[in-house]
């Protein structure tokens, strides 16, 4: 029994610091917004041109002109700012966004990430993912440790086409928390019910276990 998606999001929310501007990708990353710790003020950036993304609108108050990068209807908050897509990626590229949380299909032990294309399947495009991973200073990947076939998604080398190279700083999966280090994935926290042996068995890339390994505190 590893972490649930909600628990992965909850664990990532502990990376938030007061005053952070944060970009949350589609999927598990979006859930992080539900676990912002008390006393921590963060501003969510949506790369289609919004700082200060608020919750979904109340039923009947949806506005087609106000969506997030996942095309979902959203709201603004007091202090929100709207801008065009060039400024949006400009502030990302300039390092003004402190933390980016993304999903991934594969992560390599050097920080490479693949999350946009599966060859021989319909290609939908990279959207803003390549820009985000090339620019963000702190990129955390939120994903399941293995794919539906049970194969590791933490690899020595990505098999899928890359989204970006040497850019991921940390991976949070259902099995634990892994920092990208020169020695490969460094397991710093494990899911409470998950053994080191299971993590080793399910991690294909280089893996080191932190001296001070501890259980993920949820």
């Amino acid at each position: 029994m590893g972490l649930t998606k909600e628990q992965i999001a909850q664990r990532i929310s502990k990376e938030l610091k007061d005053g952070y501007y944060v970009n949350l990708g589609i999927g598990i990353p979006t859930l992080v917004a539900n676990y912002i710790p008390e006393g921590i003020n963060v501003v969510l950036q949506s790369e289609n041109g919004l700082l200060g993304m608020g919750p979904f609108p109340e039923e009947g108050k949806e506005d087609a002109d106000l969506i997030n990068a996942g095309k979902q209807t959203i709201t603004t908050l007091p202090g929100s700012a709207i801008f065009d897509s060039a400024m949006s990626f400009g502030m990302i590229r300039a390092g003004k966004v402190h933390l980016t949380v993304l999903g991934a299909m594969e992560v390599a032990d050097n920080g490479d990430i693949a999350n946009w294309k599966i060859p021989n399947k319909m290609v939908k495009g990279m959207g803003g993912a390549m820009d985000l991973v090339a620019a963000a200073k702190n990129i955390i990947v939120a994903m399941q440790h293995t794919n539906p076939k049970g194969e590791s998604k933490l690899l020595a080398q990505c098999s899928l086409p890359l989204t970006g190279i040497k850019c991921v700083t940390k991976v949070v999966t259902d099995l634990g928390v892994f920092e990208i280090t020169p020695e490969g994935f460094k397991c710093v926290e494990h899911a409470p019910d998950v053994s080191i042996e299971e993590i080793k068995a399910k991690t294909a890339g280089r893996l080191v276990i932190a001296q001070d390994l501890k259980p993920v505190a949820i």
């Binding site: 979902q72 959207g127 390549m130 970006g164």
Partner: protein, 234 residues
């Protein structure tokens, strides 16, 4: 000084766009789309088009409507999901597609509007996007050299505009619209509300009229929502 850019209708605005033209379309997903001009292009049947737009619409809305009528030869976009007819044409080889990272797409519009011929970006370095592209090293990093877009027409949708072409956008319907407005050699703007010069605050113009060549008040905006997400009322 009142330069009048008003045309009568969407039909009038797009009438000289020839088959084979390259057209930029503002919008992100289905948000902020120039619905009237797309309808006029579908009606006129202009064909063999190269379309530059962040997305390709859905099956029955946005650029999807033009795909359905096989008016599009090539699509340049960052994300083209949610579109079965698109997928069919792509897999059958009827449609060419060039995928570009979203920030690069936006910046290539910006630099076209600012008269800058190319821009160095990190997005795509080390990926298949970099294949065949010129690179330059700077501060120990390798950058891809990305060119300014060169599009004959840009078609954008604004919230308000005046007869001189000054535009204001609403909320995230802004997205690529002001960028493409700057980038087009001929820029067509459809607006929800067309006003007289002096009705817009000069300090609050998103796109100055110098970048806009034709403007008209659109009608019957459907403004479709792609992902309707709501929460319970308190």
């Amino acid at each position: 000084m009142s330069i009048n850019k008003v045309v009568a209708s969407a039909d009038e605005a797009i009438k000289d766009i020839p088959d084979g033209a390259t057209i930029m379309f503002g919008g992100f997903g289905l948000c902020g789309l120039p619905e009237n001009c797309i309808a006029a292009l579908v009606k006129k049947g202009t064909t063999n088009l190269t379309c530059i737009s962040n997305n390709a619409g859905v099956d029955d809305f946005g650029i999807g409507l033009m795909l359905h009528k096989k008016q599009v030869k090539k699509m340049i976009a960052s994300y083209v999901g949610e579109n079965a007819e698109f997928e069919r044409q792509l897999l059958s080889g009827e449609l060419e597609v060039e995928l570009i990272p979203q920030g690069t797409l936006a910046t290539r519009c910006l630099i076209a509007g600012y008269g800058i011929p190319f821009v160095p970006v990190l997005a795509g370095v080390g990926t298949e996007v970099a294949i065949g592209k010129e690179t330059l090293s700077r501060n120990g990093k390798e950058y891809l050299i990305e060119e300014a877009f060169d599009a004959s027409f840009a078609i954008v949708k604004a919230w308000k505009g005046d007869t001189m072409g000054n535009l204001i956008f609403k909320d995230t319907a802004r997205n690529f619209n002001p960028l493409m407005a700057m980038a087009g050699k001929i820029t067509i703007a459809e607006v929800e509300e067309l006003v007289q010069p002096g009705e817009l605050d000069p300090n609050m113009i998103h796109t100055p009229g110098i970048y806009v060549h034709r403007i008209f008040q659109g009608s019957h905006y459907e403004k479709r929502i792609e992902q309707r997400t709501v929460r319970k009322a308190n």
